[in-house]
Amino acid sequence: MDRRKFLKTGGRFLAATPFACDLLVASVASASGPGAGRWGMVIDLRRCPEGCDACVKACRRENNVAEHGDPRWDVHWIRQVEIRPHGQEDAPTRTVPLLCNHCERPPCAQVCPVRATYQRDDGIVIVDHHRCIGCRYCLIACPYNARFFNYRENEAWPNKDYPKRSHGVAESCHLCAHRLDQGRLPACMEACRDAGAGAIVVGDLDNPESEISRLIAANSVKRIREDLGTGPKVHYIGL
């Protein structure tokens, strides 16, 4: 190769480098699961039958969520709670399924001293249980009381394909990230559909064509304690 040829080829390589880097970054972003977008949930309370706990049970079974039969130790990733408008003590209560809101600005992740709780690129707030030191700051920080602590060892292990958590770590709903990464639906959504209600819809909030985006656009949705500025991503219809 003569000098001229060498310089020409080298120049081409140099010019192409930024594009190659862009390609690399783009492929990594899309490789981080179906979470290229931003996962969110809609719960249509009009379709959520009173007394049904299909989602709660399915979640427990799928994620090996501990149930010791004692409210002090029980862990809930999704549970039925009675809520009323903020500051109105006399207002009638309403039962709604409550779970981790996967906030845009998650207080639990902000306070975690070891960064065990973090937000994935697709917006799911998740705990790295290997790193959790059990300080329980996140339990205090979460305005939704969606975080729970494993005060005891959980012996039940219904789903062997998914790990349980040991005594001494905090946990909450992770929107079935392990299932979403495989292109499957979260257990609660699947159970809700199987029960014939179809009240829970999980999908990509960034995609205007997705079912969840259309539901949000077509209905009046509310999020719990929006005033706190955490940017919750669980939307309720009919609240």
Partner: protein
Amino acid sequence: MSGDRKSPLDGNLVKVVFPLLVILAPLGLSVIGAVSAGDPGAEEPFLELPPEPNEGCVRDAEFMRFHHWELLREVRDQVVRGGGRHEISLDRCRSCHPSRERFCSRCHEAVSLQPDCFGCHYYPADPAAAVDHARAGR
């Protein structure tokens, strides 16, 4: 004046050297004993290996023997923080080494290690259960 001064060891001979000897003597004796008797050391744990080497091995045996925990730790962080849990799983280990008790635990027990992986990750001690699980899951 200088003639009166004792050598630093004189008064301390009984106080320091003798107890030191008493303390160190068993150690020295055991080393001498071990060397002279040709002590083979602790017995090497017997691992039950698959009948034939599988092509699906993650790395060769030599690497795994000395670095499997580093590999597991690295892969763990990669999978937990980066996603793709379903692509990498202990199932791959279990398919050839079905019994944790006869494989992992033999060495861990021999060197008195208690890794807490299996409190949360399924890897049964009983191979029959593992095979059933692998069949049901796949």
